[in-house]
Every structure is written in C-alpha cells, then in structure tokens.
C-alpha cells in the first residue's frame, strides 16, 4: 500500500517513526518527520508558486466589477432605495476620481516636502566651474 508516509523522499531510507503504530492507517493526516515542504514544492512545480502583482490587481478589479454589476442590475434581488442606486451607479467614476486626486495630492505633498541640499548643490556647481577652468587651462576646448 503506497501511503503518504512511504512516498516521501525520506521514507526509502527507512526513517524510524516516533509513534509505534502505523500513522498512515490511524491518522493519515499526520506525517511525522516529513518534509512537508517537499510535497508542496512538487505540487507547485508545474504552476509557479506566487501570483504576480498584475494578476492580483486584475483579480481584485474583476471581483469588485462583478459585484458592482450584480448590484446595479438587481441580480441579487435586493430592493435598494433609489438614492442608494444613484450612488452605486456613480461609484466606479467616484473611485477613479478619488484615486486621481490622491495621486495628485501625494505628488504635490512630496514635491513640497522634498529635502533639498542647497549647500551640496552650491558646492557641486563650484566644483564644476573649477573643473572647467582646469581643463580649459590644459587645452581642452568646450
């Protein structure tokens, strides 16, 4: 009988299981001394383990979009008051506009609070002038 315990990589080396009884028969979900990660890695090897950010975003958008569509078309059979329906209808536009406002506001805030290093900028400019003078003296033409 090929069980989970015997099909694992360590099983062929004859590992001693801490329990005396056959774990696979009485508690098949418990795999002592098992490299559970190996099982998972084998199963995931074909698919790839993680979902990309793009896929996550698309999933989220698809879920929200389908919920919104179901609610606006009354597919769920809920009788919402007309004011709620008005708000619901404009929700995607509202979310887009507020996301745009957030982006604009964040950009503006970061521009306003950026740490300028004026001394370093001035020093750099003077060093550039020095270098140009030096190179011009040595004969390089700009």
């Amino acid at each position: 009988v090929k069980t989970a315990a015997t099909s694992l990589p360590g099983a062929s080396r004859g590992l001693q299981l801490p329990e005396g009884r056959a774990a696979a028969e009485h508690e098949p979900w418990r795999i002592p001394n098992a490299d559970v990660g190996a099982v998972r890695r084998r199963e995931d090897a074909g698919r790839g383990v993680t979902m990309t950010k793009l896929a996550q975003w698309l999933w989220g958008l698809a879920l929200l979009g389908s919920t919104w569509a179901a609610l606006t078309m009354g597919a769920l059979g809920l009788e919402l008051p007309s004011s709620c329906r008005e708000v619901l209808w404009s929700l995607p536009a509202y979310l887009l506009v507020s996301a745009g406002c957030y982006a604009l506001g964040t950009v503006g805030y970061r521009v306003a609070t950026f740490h300028d290093c004026e001394d370093a900028a001035r020093e750099l400019q003077s060093q550039i002038q020095e270098a140009r003078a030096d190179l011009a003296r040595r004969g390089m033409r700009f």
Partner: protein, 64 residues
C-alpha cells in the same frame, strides 16, 4: 524644498483636496439630501458627475 517648489506642491495638495471634497459631496451626499434643499443650486445635475470625469479622462488619454 524652497520657494516655487513649495508653492506648487502645496497648491497641488489644495487643488486635489478641493476637487475631492466637491466631488464627494456631489456623488455621495447629494442623493441623500432632499431635492428642495438650497444646496442643490451649487451642483450640476448628477449625470454630469459621471460625464465630466469621463470626458476629461478621454481627453487626457488622447492628448498625452
């Protein structure tokens, strides 16, 4: 940041806050306010709340 950077940055923040509050009142709060209230005078009909951002977005996409 100094000088014009600060002015421009804070101006952007102010503009975005103004747009956000106006739009929120327009879309979220107005439907729940009685249609006889005086505040409706300051806002266009609700249909424009979707049409104007849509048009602006299309313009942005076409000209950028």
């Amino acid at each position: 940041a100094t000088g014009t950077d600060q002015v421009v940055g804070l101006g952007l923040v102010a503009v975005s806050l103004i747009i956000f509050t106006y739009y929120t009142v327009w879309v979220i709060l107005l439907p729940f306010i009685d249609s006889q209230h005086v505040i409706h005078k300051y806002f266009l009909p609700q249909a424009y709340a979707v049409a104007i951002p849509l048009a602006a977005g299309l313009l942005l996409l076409l000209f950028v």
